[in-house]
Symmetry: D2
Subunit: 309 residues, 4 copies
């Protein structure tokens, strides 16, 4: 893989970066506050195997909620959609990503979709494996295969920080355990979940991973079918209807591509049959999406006409 800096992309980065000053770093995970708020980097991985980038593409960041799409793809592939969708729904929600109220008022109390925390915790609880070690290593292998980088790892310090402060996610887990939606030990699920959130990569690796989804689950370079077509499609659908937290509808209107953001400031973009995109800029808007990252994708859409609508 030979990746090249792109002047054209660099122009768009210059145009979008100023917006980062209107955003704020995530504060609820202490380790995320160390990021450089004016950072902005982007990479595009085309289905012919070429790629371009702008900004400091080497900067690594944690996946956070972006990992929800990946654990979903993995679990769907491993245990099948029927078992997964018995425990988590397919519908978008107007409630915040970390809300617990709907679990109580909806009967049965399964989470509305796998992109909100409750749903993602269910998905993580379904990762197969004889023990925590096997669950984690197999899942990590999957991520390494997707990115083509066997060195992908999680940030231990970050993971420990998240693990020790995730009271709300524990509340969600115990609530769902009470209602039989989640089985297994909550502390183990929390360890696995915080590990998947702490996986680090750069925008280039994120773009390459996105290209697999864009290519209907097939590695664009090797041609290997990593994710079944139908599962790649399911994931892209969730990215459109609920990938950008409570601004998913607005993003669909303004950019119109399957995307998933994380509170680290990363955004995974997927242009079906065209390319994968990785963006990173850690200053967030009030809904939790990367502010300059979102703007950059708007500008890219205006230039390249990415929208699927």
């Amino acid at each position: 893989m030979t990746c090249q800096a792109s002047n054209e992309l660099e122009q768009l980065v210059l145009q979008a970066r100023p917006y980062s000053s209107q955003g704020k770093l995530a504060t609820y995970i202490p380790a995320l506050e160390k990021a450089n708020p004016s950072h902005l980097s982007v990479a595009i991985f085309h289905l012919d195997g070429t790629c371009t980038y702008a900004g400091d593409y080497k900067q690594r960041f944690s996946l956070q909620s972006i990992s929800k799409v990946l654990s979903l793809a993995y679990v769907l592939a491993r245990i099948g959609d029927e078992e997964v969708f018995q425990r988590v729904g397919m519908e978008p929600t107007g409630d915040p990503f970390n809300s617990i109220a709907k679990l109580e008022t909806t009967k049965p109390s399964k989470p509305l979709n796998p992109m909100i925390n409750a749903g993602a915790l269910v998905v993580t609880s379904l990762i197969p494996g004889a023990d925590l070690k096997e669950q984690w290593e197999d899942f990590l292998d999957f991520i390494r295969t997707l990115t083509g980088n066997p060195e992908i790892a999680y940030n231990k310090e970050l993971q420990e920080s998240e693990f020790s402060t995730s009271y709300l996610n524990r509340a969600l887990c115990f609530f769902m355990k009470q209602h039989g939606i989640i089985n297994g030990e909550v502390e183990k699920i929390m360890e696995l979940y915080t590990k998947q959130c702490s996986i680090e990569m750069n925008c280039l690796e994120l773009a390459q991973l996105g290209a697999v989804f864009a290519n209907n689950g097939r590695n664009p370079v090797s041609g290997e079918q990593i994710i079944p077509v139908q599962i790649a499609r399911i994931c892209k659908t969730f990215m459109v209807t609920c990938g950008m937290y409570n601004a998913s509808g607005e993003f669909a209107m303004k950019v119109g591509i399957p995307a998933k953001s994380g509170v680290s400031g990363g955004i995974l973009g997927v242009i079906p049959n065209r390319c994968g995109i990785g963006v990173f800029s850690p200053a967030l808007d009030e809904k939790g999406n990367s502010l300059a990252g979102w703007k950059l994708l708007e500008f890219m859409n205006e230039k390249y006409n990415f929208s699927i609508f």
Copy 2:
């Protein structure tokens, strides 16, 4: 326009029709209970101006919630997106289409999107015009232009039936009037709203109307730009994220096209840059979508690969 019966479509109709026996006619609007539950018809209007159909394509049905997309397009075009989106949101919701609770718990209390009743009532309240007569006639002209049929009209008996029993919609209106989301007289808004819901057409006209959206707002035959590109895109986005009531997410996964259904059993489908689709089958599933209509669109997607994902 020359439309032709299609054997291929007819085969799919035969395959889908049996599912109608698992559905039920809408009961909350008395006039809708008179429909023939085993009816199923479909039409496709391609962007080259040709069209095909299957089943009794002449059967007329009321738009009901399908009209929400049309009033939205109309109001956006007439008064601009800024004013509209000050009063109604852009986000999907996990609540039922007729829910009032979220209006109370969300601050400010504007409806989450224009595809739920509360949001559609806001949109209707924004239809410009000196009086009710002008509001209605101008809007009806818009529908006639979209379908190419100057005879399009509403079903008066149906409208009166809906008008006299729509207590819940009045509750929504008064609640929003209290909070300044809606201005004007509730009874007038209700008259306009029930009229738009009672507009009747057949699947062919619905498909032709869909082709305008598929063609980015341009009439595929005359080339006239009826709806601005950006507004057509906004409408298609809402159709994907919230067009099929509380099964929008599932529909996006299984069919993957912008669509809007109504409790009459109609479904408007839009395949960007390809064709518009009109489907009608009045027996509904428990979420309020045409059961055989949904199945037919699934079969059509399998055959023609319509999904945008």
Copy 3:
């Protein structure tokens, strides 16, 4: 009836009046904003027929929510508790008095109790009578009998003001009409309801009315049983559990007597087997209770040990 000014009460009034400066007049009913915010008056009507007062006891004020207890007593007496409690519950609620959300999330959707607006509207809808005129006149007779004043009337200007702006109450009515909790025409119910809210009296008449409840439904002077014992008890119970809006629990702890307040600034107090109390001071706290009125009742309880706990 000979009523006398009381120096002792006057001392307590002097002590409580300064608190009125921390409160605000109700703004959502325009006519209420004309009140004198520093006004404070009180009367006690003992079961031996004597009464005492302090402050300008002649000042008249509208009942507003205080009327909810009276319409409840009236309807229970006229049509029986069974029919009433099929349509409205017996339980306190943590939601605001004008909330609609619980009606949607509770099945069946009957209001939790008759002291919140939804419940009070149900009660009003059950007032018997051949037509609106008879319904109103019979109910007004009941109030006149309770107070011993045949001149009691409603404030027409105030009623018209409330009638024309009560969008939220109309929303509640239409919502309940949809669910079969309320029958009849909403506009007629609204007229009856705003009339009952606009009934005017002074603190002396309010105290005398309270004495009937304190005396287990019997007029303390004439001995006439105006309200059945069991119904008087039901009303006193609701006054303790939900009489002071969302501060009912706090009031029960700090004062400990059955009481019902209205946004006009009136408070009806009932000391079982001892006396009735009428208080008026229009400046309200943020929960809608008369601020100086509440304080005065606290001071009275400290002095006279009124608490039933």
Copy 4:
């Protein structure tokens, strides 16, 4: 203390016992299912130190939610009402005792009152002590003093059963820990909470304990002030407004006394300035209150006119 069997009470027990056949044993705590569903016992402890009983008064049962009143009294006495009511409210709620949704929709997210699980967990988290051992032993001493029985203990098997299955209470704790309402380790709070719920006594001891509250916090035999007057009053108020789960309003109307029930089937009753009552019958109605126990209190009220209203 000499307690005597009462023929009069025995007659009421005979009258109430048949109702137990309409109830069901609590199933969510396995150990409670072993109870004899037709058991019914009662004791009255008068303020002159005499007491009477009927049924098998020696039968011991666990306090469960009855302990919420006792931990509240204890914590109020030890750390003061100001600190307690910063973290838990004073208002009744229409939501179920184990609901979590209101914690999310209310800002700040403190529980509405100390009689629902969330509120009781807050109270338990405030029990002072250097460590869990001291917290527990001091609290248990308080219970022993209240009952006059230094042998009062908790049922270890029951406690362990509750501790291992209380997922919902852990969800409530973690949610409140996230919002800063609860500090300290959740597992320790859970241990303390399940211990207090598993304290066992018989109806006689429960009645004696109730007499302390009836006597304004003073031991009726020794005259010792165990609980300050004002705190005893606060507890009685909560018992009226929220002591009988979601049937508190109905109970107040039909019986009219401060009372607190537990899912073991025990009910603590307090008649101010008159007597304490202990009732036990484990078959519950659908709201979680002892069915025959409730009926017995209704019959007792009819005979002895206990109602405070």
